[in-house]
Amino acid sequence: MNSSSVSDRARLKRWISDYGMLGVLLLLCVLFSILTLDEQFPTGKAAAESVYETQLYRLPASTKVIAVGSSSAQDSLFTLEVSKRITNATVDVVNGDPQVIRAFLEKSVSSSGDRLVIATTNAVASVVTAIKSQVASLQSAEIVSPLSRRWPTFLLAENIRNVANQITVIAIIAIGMTIVIITAGIDLSVGSLIALCAVIVTWLIGQWGAESAGTGAMLGAAVIGIVLCGVVGAFSGLMITRFRIPPFIATLAMMQVAAGIGYIISQGRPIYQIPESFIWLGRGVDPLFGIPTAVILMIVLYAVAHVIMSQTTLGRYIYAVGGNPEAARLAGIRVNAILLFAYTICAMLAGLGGVLMASQLKSGAPTYGLSYELYVIAAVVVGGTSLSGGEGRILGTLIGALIIGVIQNGMNLVNVESYTQKVVLGLVILGAVLLDRLKQRRMASVRT
């Protein structure tokens, strides 16, 4: 065996151990796809297209079509689209309660002896069938409805968007947590910082015009909130570097302090006085592909963090400080500055998470982010970063966050109640750490 193939194999092995969790994620997706396989009915425009393409595209000119739907927005879209699509026949449209539909159908029959086709959405299909059996003049009418297909609920675009939306806050903070954990530290204050930042930002917006605040005011409030969180993080970092307080203790203290300040500012009440446009960050989607703004933000942040950790001197120093702080210091690295950076950036990302959550919920409350630090740490650990420091991958953390999001979402879809979900999630975290230990033991036994 030549040396290049040996190193290729070593590299492949390393890649698998770095991103092996990707396989677990895919397996989970497959599992939940199978478990949630179900009849899926199209709605809205897609439903109209389905009916038209399969059943209405070749109608004789003397046909009369009635498009029926409930009063929901999706059903209105359906009836509108049907009436637009059919050009060679007359189309009547009715949207409303069963009584309205019944009245309309009874009235419209008498007009002629033409062929009658009723195009109905799946929501009211059974209503229409019942009406047909009761109204004698409708006996000859044909009822058409969108065809269903078998497809996993889990894989519906809407659900995938849901998962992505649910994990953005955790995943974004997990970037900072990964950096801190790689330096062999921990930051327990991120949950409280979510609340603190959400409260600061909404409070500031309330001061600067409340519901009528402009974009500038909102942006300014967000920046100030994030920077203040950074100050809190820098303070933790200072305690850890200057006074050698263990990270666990320092950030535990700051977790209490930040939570307390959040309650003081908001006086314990949620703040709702913010403009409608503030939800752009948390609930907005991009106009082209319908990807949520928050997800785009998350992806951009992961890309940047990945490049920093793998391509820059800063990233190398972070790994070095976590791997052996004394050796790093004796190699001329400013260990304290690196640690300070790690805690500051982690706190700022927690602040950003707070802004995001305030935007998603269109309010700021001191109760936000409760025990989020645990979900964030779980995402990092499941993503393969070792709590002993010096090792870990940013993209692994994204996979870890996705695994946690997918498990939660999947369990919701298959109706696992929330208490059981906690048990499963705990076991998953344990399993991930166990996997990491086994991996390390195997590597240790290969040593000669």
Partner: protein, 485 residues
């Protein structure tokens, strides 16, 4: 142990290793790093399982599945790293895991009495209630041995038991080992220090490439023969002396002081190898750490080529072309779980990065250049530093500091824990650096080593310079010791 085989993925650690131990003898096991000593011991003590071969104890075949089982089988191991719990008392450590108890309550009196007897047997007169943390390293080493004795071991395995001891402490330990041998205890002794092996061992087994090369009585070996058997080729001279030509003053240290170090002044010339000798705790390491800015100095100045350089941190020292190869590679030199290339690159990253972005191609080519020049044996630049042998780890660190273009290269115990062959290469390398006109300072506990390669030796005693040996070629170990004690 006969015909022991052990394969690891990709390597055969033991091909055909055999070893026998008589009751009441000290049997030394020697070989270069990677020869299979550690693996053989791990198999004997149940840490790992052999792939072939047999082990017998008093004529009956045994196979331990875990170190605990081995201990019950009256086989105790004393590892290089201490396994004592610092905060617990000597007594608690001695009986850890097999406490004496009466109906569930700790029998402190009984333990104390037995502990006293065992410690007396080792000539260690300390209060058994002293926390281990307050003992000297030598005392801790003796407590480790006492613990093995407390378990009624008939076989003692000692892996580098003298690594942390001063010469006097080693002498005391050897007296104890002799007494234990007379009591019928068999001992397996592993050490890189050949002097000690010749002093204590009754028989010597040489391992090379996983195979037993020779087992003979110590008196049947000469030092030269032993080394040649270990490395598998003939060696002309154990300490190659470089034809150094000291030039202008390169480094000048004036009135350095901090902690135990007081008023240390000396000069070192470019192209010169200056040794620093002294007993353990004399302040040798402290002095070089102060020069390198690793610790804060209270007084004194460091001049480089006549210019006063302000050094307040290792970072500033490196920027001024001073580097230190620390005495403990594993805790102060390397990031063990990082790639060899990463370890090499750490202080040099800025030279091949722009705006913080690392030019990885350049990094790799620089690394590979040094791998070739220094003959670093490595399978892949991404190999973890912890998987390299001691000698290669040391070379990796040398490569790192050569890349920073250091003008003052300080070695603290450059050959500690590395095997004979790698030591020789390290001496050649040190000579090479001096020939390039660098200032080279070597701190070592190995007097023959200092006498063999240095141009001048500074001797320290209790934090101060006690004297200097300029005529190294005709000096003897006794001359150095006379200044050191």
């Amino acid at each position: 142990m006969a015909g022991i085989k052990k394969n690891f993925p990709g390597v055969i650690a033991l091909a055909h290793a055999s070893f026998d131990l008589k009751a009441g003898e000290v049997h030394a096991l020697v070989g270069e790093n990677g020869a299979g000593k550690s693996t053989l011991i791990k198999i004997l003590t149940g840490v790992q399982k052999q792939d072939g071969g047999t082990i017998e104890l008093y004529g009956s075949p045994i196979s331990f599945d875990s170190p605990q089982e081995a201990q019950r089988g009256q086989l105790a191991t004393i590892y290089q790293e201490f396994t004592l719990i610092p905060a617990l008392s000597v007594r608690a450590n001695l009986f850890l895991g097999r406490e004496k108890s009466r109906s569930g309550f700790l029998d402190s009196k009984g333990e104390s009495a037995q502990a006293g007897i065992i410690l007396a047997r080792l000539g260690l007169h300390i209060d058994v209630e002293t926390p281990v943390a307050e003992l000297t390293i030598a005392q801790q080493q003796l407590v480790e041995i006492a613990r093995a004795l407390a378990s009624d071991a008939k076989v003692l395995v000692m892996d580098e038991p003298t690594a942390a001891l001063t010469p006097t402490e080693v002498k005391a330990l050897f007296v104890v080992l002799r007494e234990l041998a007379e009591q019928g205890i068999g001992m397996i002794f592993i050490s890189h220090r050949l002097n000690e092996i010749f002093e204590i061992a009754d028989r010597i087994t040489v391992l090379r490439d996983g195979t037993t090369i020779a087992t003979r009585a110590t008196s049947e070996f000469t030092r030269q023969q032993l080394i040649e058997l270990m490395v598998g080729r003939s060696i002309e001279d154990e300490y190659p002396r470089a034809m150094t030509k000291p030039q202008a003053t390169g480094l000048e240290v004036r009135n350095l002081g901090a902690g135990i170090v007081r008023d240390v002044s000396f000069t070192a010339h470019r192209g010169e190898i200056v040794g620093i000798a002294g007993l353990m705790g004399a302040g040798r390491t402290e002095v070089v750490r102060l020069i390198f800015g690793a610790d804060n100095r209270e007084s004194g100045a460091v001049l480089l080529d006549g210019k006063n350089v302000m050094i307040g941190s290792p970072r500033e020292a490196i920027a001024n072309g001073i580097c230190l190869l620390t005495e403990d590679r594993k805790t102060q030199g390397l990031i063990l779980r990082a790639a060899a290339r990463d370890n090499f690159a750490l202080p040099n990253l800025t030279t091949w990065s722009r705006l913080g972005f690392i030019n990885k191609a350049k990094e790799l080519s620089r690394f590979q250049k040094h791998v070739v020049n220094l003959k670093i044996r490595i399978s892949d630049p991404e190999q973890l530093a912890e998987n390299l042998s001691g000698g290669n780890q040391q070379k990796l660190l040398v490569a790192r500091w050569l890349e920073t273009n250091s003008q003052v290269v300080i070695f603290d115990e450059p050959t500690r824990g590395i095997d004979v062959g790698a030591k020789f290469e390290m001496y050649l390398l040190i000579g090479e650096l001096a020939l390039q006109g660098k200032v080279v300072i070597v701190v070592s506990s190995e007097l023959p080593e200092l006498l063999g390669i240095c141009d001048r030796i500074l001797v320290m005693r209790r934090g101060q310079l006690a004297g200097e040996i300029t005529d190294v070629r005709s000096a003897k170990q006794e001359d150095v010791m006379a200044l050191a004690v």
